[in-house]
C-alpha cells in the first residue's frame, strides 16, 4: 500500500469502527472496552441515524460495528438498514449468542453486510474460559446459520497465550464450517488491561504465530498484526498504524477517538454532540497528532519500513508513551528471546 497518499491526508476515513453500545451479555476477560452495562447517554436512534447520514456524506466506505454486543441495541437493525440504504458496507463483530435463524435471514437480504463471530479457542474449554460457559457451542450454532447464507462470515479470534497453540486448529475448524478465520491482536485496554499478564502471548508464541501467518495467506488480520508481518504477507495489508489516517472510532456516546483501543479522555478527538463527523475528522488536534506521529526510536530498525513503529495504542498502554514504539513487535520478540537465552546460559 502506498503510504505517500495516506500521509497526504484523506478527506475522510476509509472505514469507521463504531462501538454502538457498551451493553454486553458476556463478560469476556480480554474485552477491550470492559463491556457489560450500557454507557450512560449512549446515542439515541435519531442521533445514530444522523451519524449514518454524516458518514455517508463524508464518503466512508465501510462501518465496522462492535461494542459491547451490537445486537443488544433494539434499533441496531434499523441502523444497519440506514447504512445499507446508502450503499455503506458494514461488518458486524458479534458474540453470536443473539443470532437466530430469523435474524440471519433478515441480514442475508442485503449483500452489504459481513459478520464476524468471536471465538477464542478450538475447544469449548479454551474458548469458554475467556468468554463464559456455553458460549463456544452458541457461537458454533451462529456460524452454522451464517454459513448457510451468502453472508461473508468469519470466526474472529483474539490471540492469547491460552489459544496460541490452537490457531491452526481454529483455521481448520473455520474451513470445515465454511467460513474464514480472522485473528486479532490482544491489546491491554479495558478488561484486557486487567488480565494482561495472564492472557498476553509470549514472545515465542508471537514469533510462531508470525511464522504460521506467513504461510496462511487467506487468514485475515485487519490492521492487527502489521508489527509482526513477515515479508511473505507484505502487500496484503497495512505497514503502519491507520488510526486517524485511514480509520477512526466512534464510541457509544458519540465521542470520536483515533481507534477502539484508545477510547479515553486523553485521546478524545471530539464529540458528535458538539461537532459534525467531518469537522472532527478535519480539525481535531488529536487526529493531527496521529497523522504527524513518527516513531523516531524505531527508525534505525531494519524492519521500520514494514511496521513504522507498530501499534501506538499498545505503546501507550504498556509504556505510557505514544512515541515509544510497539513493545511487542517482531524485532523486540526476537531480541527478548535472545536475551532470555543469554541469561539462561550465563546462569
Amino acid at each position: 500500500m502506498s503510504n505517500r497518499y495516506v500521509e497526504m491526508g484523506l478527506r475522510s476515513p476509509v472505514n469507521l469502527t463504531w462501538e454502538v453500545s457498551l451493553a454486553c451479555n458476556l463478560r469476556c476477560t480480554h474485552c477491550l472496552s470492559s463491556s457489560g452495562e450500557p454507557a450512560h447517554g449512549e446515542l439515541s436512534t435519531a442521533e445514530a441515524l444522523d451519524l449514518v447520514e454524516q458518514v455517508h456524506q463524508a464518503g466512508v466506505f465501510q462501518i465496522n460495528f462492535g461494542g459491547g454486543e451490537p445486537f443488544l441495541r433494539p434499533d441496531f437493525e434499523e441502523i444497519l438498514a440506514a447504512c445499507h440504504g446508502r450503499g455503506i458496507m458494514t461488518c458486524i463483530s458479534t458474540n453470536g449468542t443473539l443470532l437466530n435463524a430469523e435474524r440471519v435471514a433478515r441480514l442475508a437480504t442485503t449483500r452489504l453486510v459481513a459478520i464476524q463471530v468471536s471465538m477464542d479457542g478450538a475447544t469449548a474449554e479454551t474458548c469458554d474460559a475467556i468468554r463464559g460457559k456455553g458460549v463456544f457451542h452458541k457461537a458454533i450454532q451462529a456460524i452454522r446459520l451464517l454459513a448457510a447464507t451468502s453472508i461473508p462470515a468469519s470466526i474472529n479470534t483474539v490471540l492469547t497465550t491460552q489459544n496460541a497453540s490452537q490457531i491452526p486448529a481454529m483455521y481448520e475448524m473455520a474451513h470445515s464450517l465454511g467460513v474464514s478465520l480472522r485473528v486479532s491482536r490482544f491489546r491491554p485496554s479495558g478488561r484486557g488491561a486487567d488480565n494482561w499478564e495472564e492472557l498476553r502471548p509470549t514472545p515465542a508464541q508471537l514469533i510462531a504465530f508470525s511464522d504460521w501467518l506467513s504461510k496462511s495467506g487467506d487468514v485475515r488480520t485487519g490492521d492487527s498484526f502489521f508489527s509482526l508481518t513477515s515479508q511473505e504477507r507484505q502487500g496484503l495489508g497495512l505497514n503502519l498504524c491507520g488510526a486517524a489516517k485511514l480509520t477512526c472510532c466512534v464510541g457509544p456516546t458519540g465521542n470520536m477517538y483515533p481507534c477502539a483501543f484508545l477510547q479515553t479522555d486523553r485521546f478524545k478527538a471530539g464529540s458528535l454532540r458538539d461537532q459534525s463527523f467531518q469537522e472532527i475528522w478535519d480539525s481535531s488536534e488529536i487526529y493531527d497528532s496521529f497523522r504527524s506521529l513518527r516513531i523516531h526510536s524505531c527508525e534505525e530498525c531494519n524492519r521500520f519500513d514494514q511496521c513504522h513503529g507498530g501499534c501506538p495504542a499498545v505503546a501507550w498502554h504498556l509504556k505510557n508513551d505514544i512515541n515509544g514504539g510497539d513493545p511487542e513487535c517482531l524485532e523486540r520478540c526476537v531480541t527478548s528471546i535472545a536475551d532470555a537465552n543469554k541469561a539462561a546460559q550465563a546462569a
Binding site: M1, Y5, R11, V14, Q62, G87, R111
Partner: protein
C-alpha cells in the same frame, strides 16, 4: 479481461471516491485499497453505471485517453471493475 463490446462497471464489492490526488478504490473482499493518481480526469461515479470497454469521459487528449485506458485495464485485472 472484458470481451470486445462487453460492458464494464464497478464490482459490487468495491467502492470509489474522489481524493485530492485522484481516485481511491476500496475492495471489501480483501479488504484492499488502490490509490490512483488520476486527478480529475475520471469522475468517481463513472463506472457506477455500465460503460463500453473503450468508453472514456469527453474532452480528454489522446495521451490522457491512452493513460486512462491502461488504467482501466488494470482495474479490470485487479477486479475493481468487472464485465457486466
Amino acid at each position: 479481461m472484458a470481451a470486445a463490446g462487453a460492458g464494464i462497471r464497478l464490482h459490487p464489492a468495491c467502492r470509489v471516491r474522489q481524493e485530492g490526488f485522484g481516485l481511491l478504490f476500496y475492495d471489501s473482499r480483501g479488504p484492499r485499497l488502490l490509490f490512483a493518481e488520476t486527478g480529475r480526469l475520471l469522475p468517481a461515479d463513472f463506472y457506477g453505471t455500465v460503460r463500453e470497454r473503450d468508453e472514456l469521459p469527453e474532452g480528454l487528449t489522446d495521451n490522457q485517453k491512452g493513460a486512462l485506458q491502461k488504467f482501466v485495464n488494470q482495474l479490470l485485472e485487479k477486479g475493481f471493475l468487472r464485465e457486466q
